[in-house]
């Protein structure tokens, strides 16, 4: 029962902060609300007993990616509300498109049967021991390939970022 209450509190925080990311006018506020939503997602991971993912989510997303975003917002000096608004027609079309996707998802998900109630907190697959075993046996080749991906991304970033 306690975890259920926690689930709904975290979900409300998550949805609210995600909405604020979209609707706040200053980009810096969007970045801060996105950090809040990342922490809420980490709370969800802990609720699912996926501790490794929770820690990695905080380190990688809230720690590294959001710092990059903050640096860019400050470097480009975007902290002002000069963003011109889109025309009302484009906004209406965007909202209609989103609602169409929502209707499609609701229509396809409405028919699924109620999954049996289960306690997510008594399994141990989210622990770092089991994940490490899977990562270094079944997924060894993709794991090594990500290093190549990171090398490519470093070289690409340097090539794009340097002055002529």
């Amino acid at each position: 029962m306690f975890s259920t209450i926690l689930f709904y509190i975290l979900s409300v925080i998550l949805v609210f902060s995600s909405l604020m990311v979209i609707f706040s006018r200053k980009p810096i506020n969007s970045v801060l609300f996105l950090i809040v939503s990342f922490f809420a997602i980490s709370g969800h991971y802990i609720l699912l007993n996926a501790q490794f993912l929770a820690v990695v989510n905080i380190i990688v997303y809230a720690g590294a990616i959001m710092v990059l975003f903050l640096f860019t917002v400050m470097l480009l000096n975007l902290n002002k509300e000069t963003e011109p608004k889109k025309s009302a027609l484009v906004k209406i079309i965007a909202v209609i498109t989103g609602c169409l996707l929502a209707v499609t998802l609701v229509g396809s998900l409405k028919g699924i049967d109620n999954a049996p109630v289960q306690d997510f907190s008594d399994n141990s697959i989210g622990l770092i021991k089991n994940l490490g075993k899977t990562l270094f046996t079944d997924f060894l080749v993709p794991f090594e390939l990500t290093s190549v991906l990171f090398l490519a991304s470093i070289v690409g970033t340097l090539m794009i970022g340097k002055k002529e």
């Binding site: 975890s3 259920t4 689930f7 979900s11 998550l14 949805v15 909405l19 990311v21 979209i22 980009p27 969007s30 970045v31 996105l34 939503s37 997602i41 969800h44 609720l47 996926a50 490794f52 993912l53 989510n57 997303y61 590294a64 990616i65 990059l68 975003f69 860019t72 470097l75 480009l76 975007l78 963003e83 011109p84 608004k85 889109k86 079309i93 965007a94 909202v95 989103g98 609701v106 998900l109 699924i112 109620n114 999954a115 109630v117 289960q118 399994n123 697959i125 989210g126 994940l131 990562l135 079944d138 997924f139 993709p142 990500t146 991906l149 990171f150 991304s153 690409g156 970033t157 794009i160």
Partner: protein, 109 residues
């Protein structure tokens, strides 16, 4: 009605499916509504995160660690993508003094 109350009282996999769908739709609305390229990027991150959450939930549901390893890989790819994308944004700002995506329409038609 009793069914709904029963469902509200327990975390089933359906709750995670609905939560992820709501997050994904919010992300798509953000991409479509906003004109600031950085906020568009953040909406894309939000969509990736909703998919991550659903993958983790299903991996716990099926008792299979492969799903969580996939989440890990998605995070890796997102980190690389953000680095390259923000470098592109800085480059665009340096050349055009704006990151309004409506001015970047040379490839549109």
């Amino acid at each position: 009605m009793e069914n709904i109350i029963l469902q509200l009282q327990s975390i089933s996999i359906n709750s995670y499916i609905w939560l992820s769908s709501i997050l994904f739709i919010i992300g798509i609305m953000g991409v479509l509504i906003r004109r600031n390229a950085i906020v568009v990027f953040m909406s894309i991150e939000m969509m990736l995160n909703s998919v991550n959450l659903l993958l983790a939930a299903f991996s716990v549901y099926h008792n299979d660690p492969s799903g969580q390893v996939f989440v890990f890989f998605i995070m890796v790819v997102a980190a690389a993508e953000v680095a390259v994308g923000l470098a592109l944004l800085v480059m665009i700002y340096r050349n055009t003094q704006t990151i309004d995506i409506n001015f970047l329409n040379k490839l549109k038609w």
